[in-house]
Assembly symmetry: C2
Homo-oligomer: 257 residues x 2
């Protein structure tokens, strides 16, 4: 699919990404990841590339996959990028259309439920960790930052190009999912929950992580099987949500001593 | 100490922060943390505050501590802030002058050696986790982003207002530190090291974390007691350095099953 530069620029806005089902992938490394992933890459814009460069190889790969490529100026590139120093290439990709069912059926690991996480860097980092930890995928509530935000794409290092991620409309759908999967629904809190190592009872859980400011919404606390917290030194601030989520997701590392 | 607004604005630049030994603390929450910490707060600039607001209470606290405060306009505030939407208050604080010795002597937890971490958000998050995990403190190599960068301050949520953090000039100094402390020097790598749970052998370690791009420098690998890696799902990207560091720092959570 060939898309004009003006159209591409519109993808910097969330509404347009939603309406068109397309998003931007910026930089050599992420475009490489996109081309190697199941993602449908629609076209690639790039500045003039040194023939021996990594950029040139990316453009070649795209062309040999039959993807339209177009040379543009640095100024044109800057205009379609969110990053301040874009690295020579931007791809337009089709937004993955995973369903909740796809998430639940993807392997046997944890499912991460991301509730009201507003910071795109945090969501990106969380997805990167979820993939690395072997999670099935992630379910995002409506209050969570939009998945294809350029800062989420960057923070995730392309994790959601491969990892199933879906929005979820209702707690009931999630409850049906955990019941079918036969795993517990575990809410996390920065304080007052049961000790984290309770989680070692189960091979996999659905782990609910809440927003930076207010934590998870009360509704999850009512329906979950348990609430767990990470023990911290007294008087210290709660952990960054992506960090806390990652500590929970990598708990299996410490199991066999 | 009273400081003019023009002087304060200069603190947005690293060279000036270094030369003056002062840095900026932005926002109600961080200024609260600074006032409650051992940090020496030199003065506080604030916009007009609703008498019942959290901002008004911060200004009161500063005044009752004998710290000069000065009302300024929103425009003046914007000019001395790194954040796009500053929350009404900026404090000028004296940069802590911890030594390496202070770090080693601060408790019995881990020491985090941060080598060439360039992203201020990552350093900030790492320090926040280090404090929450009960680490002694952190040693930063010369290639690591500057500690009082406004994005480090924000990411750390003020952790280094309390946690001893020092620059370190040489690997030899660190080696002397670990020897005196009687703990091992453990390098981390995104792949190829020994399993992470090797760390459970020790109550505390000096943990070397490397930069986002190239990992730790070779010199550390030569002198460390062991190199450990976090096992990840095959074919996935390495973890964010702040996440990886935090997973190591919170290993004790999973010890008692």
């Amino acid at each position: 699919m060939k898309i004009g530069l003006k159209r591409v620029r519109e993808l910097l806005r969330k509404e347009n990404r939603k309406a068109l089902g397309l998003f931007l992938v910026e930089g050599v490394r992420l475009v490489e990841e996109a081309l190697a992933s199941p993602l449908s890459v629609e076209c690639v814009f790039h500045v003039e590339a040194d023939p021996d460069s990594r950029l040139a190889r990316v453009v070649e790969t795209a062309e040999s996959d039959g993807i339209p490529t177009q040379g543009i100026t640095q100024k044109e590139l800057d205009a379609i990028c969110d990053t301040r120093t874009p690295q020579g290439v931007v791809a337009v990709a089709r937004t993955p259309t995973w369903t909740e069912e796809d998430v639940w059926k993807s392997g046997t690991g944890d499912v991460v439920v991301v509730d009201n996480v507003r910071d795109p860097g945090n969501l990106g980092t969380l997805l990167r960790s979820a993939e690395a930890a072997g999670a099935r995928g992630a379910l995002l509530t409506a209050g969570t930052v939009e998945l294809t935000n350029p800062k989420v794409v960057r923070g995730s290092m392309g994790a959601f190009f491969r990892l199933p991620v879906s929005y979820t409309d209702s707690i009931d759908d999630v409850l049906r999912g955990v019941r079918n999967a036969g795993i517990p629904l575990v809410a996390t809190s920065s304080h007052g929950g049961e000790p984290a190592n309770l989680l070692l009872k189960w091979d996999a859980v659905a782990l609910v992580l809440g927003g930076e400011a207010e934590g998870i919404t009360r509704d999850w606390n009512r329906v979950c099987d348990c609430i767990v917290s990470l023990a911290q030194k007294r008087g210290t601030d709660s952990l960054n949500v992506a960090v806390a989520g990652s500590i929970f997701l990598f708990r299996h590392l410490w199991r066999i001593v």
